[in-house]
Symmetry: C2
Subunit: 287 residues, 2 copies
């Protein structure tokens, strides 16, 4: 596939779509996917050229399902982006704050707006599968007693009203996205390498595995553990290393790790991502 088409999870107007446009440019073609497995599968099958995968939020922590998907699907990480997340309280036109009895959004978005939800004491927070999807539902139902929490883009796409902007509790709210492909050439200018590995369950195993990096003054940017299915209370570890495989120190550290680990896989090497503010595009014609 020579043309760009970026798979993302959610409906049009999702933060993931904004991340795709911020990374690849405004006009890029996108493919909405109902859930994360569908996103990974679309990229694996070549229905999309790239996937835009949220992996971590600065307030909520890692999106563990996608760590598991990185291991499950054989995709390669080739890029990274950090998107500033601005939530909005969105309603059907004319609905007032005192009319709101239900607030719909994805669970992490609701958790990021606890202060707002607590202030609307007559309203109940209700989980929806995704943020922009909650806005689509709100539009379809025409509800006069409900609101959604989502991006400005979603409000534009479904022609609904923003009652209040920037409703997240903490404005230092960023989501880190990974750009994945089925297989690709080595990224030129990579500064960061992601790997996953597992160790035998012996005392000091994790310490030994980190020593191969410490020995060479290689900085670790992130460590994440996930359970090994079928082996209760054993874990795989995901590491982000400041370095790339063109560096002898990084290559040798991973070679050492292979000596002592039960498995090691390189998930990708890529340029560390910049922080960007999402930009809105005009309303989609068929939204």
């Amino acid at each position: 596939m020579s043309e760009l088409k970026i798979a993302f999870q959610g409906e049009y107007g999702a933060f993931s779509e904004m991340a795709a446009r911020a990374y690849f440019g405004e006009g890029v073609d996108v493919l909405p996917c109902p859930h994360f497995m569908a996103l990974f599968s679309a990229v694996e099958k070549g229905e999309a050229s790239h996937g835009m995968v949220p992996i971590e939020n600065s307030l909520m922590g890692s999106i563990h399902e996608n760590y598991d998907n990185l291991l499950k699907y054989g995709l390669q990480i080739v890029g990274e982006l950090k998107l500033r997340i601005v939530h909005n309280l969105i309603v059907n036109p004319g609905v007032k704050v005192e009319d709101i009895r239900h607030i719909y959004s994805q669970a992490p978005a609701l958790a990021q707006c606890k202060d707002l939800i607590a202030s609307l004491s007559q309203a109940q927070a209700v989980m929806a599968p995704d943020t922009a999807g909650a806005v689509k539902q709100l539009k379809a139902s025409g509800a006069r007693d409900a609101a959604a929490i989502a991006s400005k883009q979603a409000a534009i796409d479904y022609e609904l009203e923003i009652l209040q902007a920037g409703v997240e509790d903490d404005h230092a709210n960023f989501t880190r996205f990974l750009v994945v492909v089925p297989e690709g050439p080595e990224v030129i200018g990579a500064t960061k390498t992601s790997i996953v590995f597992a160790m035998q369950n012996v005392p000091g195993a994790l310490f030994k595995s980190l020593s191969v990096f410490a020995l060479r003054d290689l900085n670790l940017l992130k460590i994440e553990s996930r359970p090994l299915v079928g082996k209760p209370w054993e874990y795989s570890f995901y590491l982000d290393i400041e370095g790339h495989l063109g560096q002898e120190s990084c290559r040798r550290a991973i070679d050492d790790l292979r000596e002592i680990a039960s498995f090691v896989r390189i998930l990708g090497a890529y340029k560390q991502g910049d922080v960007v503010a999402g930009k809105v595009r005009p309303k989609r014609d068929n939204a």
Copy 2:
């Protein structure tokens, strides 16, 4: 408070209630709480003597919200239990498998029963705030086109029918629970200590922090990282150490950690928990 009253999250019949009865005995008094913060708050205020807190599932991984709650509320861990989780497909009496269009449960329970959900191709999975609550709802609605996934106890309490038992994808499905109190005497016979700490963000910081344990051959049972709110891409680390503060090696290791960490807190020392199968009790009178 001299009497036992165990706060748990969810409705009567929740796996957490089964965990409370498995740990404290069948007849123990329990306090259902709508969400985890309400549970922690009930224990903090003395409305319950203990809290039963799910912290990790062997398939899904850590329950991060409760790692954050351990740091936020000043409670002390005094015990641990691992409960075997058996899910059931529950319906109103007489409803047949081919009638099911909606399957309600808590998100992790739905994720643990993906094979079953995929096999019911005419049905949609719908998130509910808790497993037993989904059964309560199902009973209240009398729906003939819906099912819930929950414990056998929940089916008994709401007098609904189990269409299929043991519907989890993987039977090696355990949830680890922590027993928390506002403040208590040192646990006699503790074998495990939980701490939380943060390091300056410098190369090798995590490696250095683990070295204080490796130096003394102290085994680490679990490491978990959580984002520091307001400091994007910095983390606190939760460690479970095989050892207790009565051991000089463990005490000295934590002293060393205090020297190099930006903060350290001991969350509790307790006996490593056994694996138990949940037992059902008779139907509650007021269920």
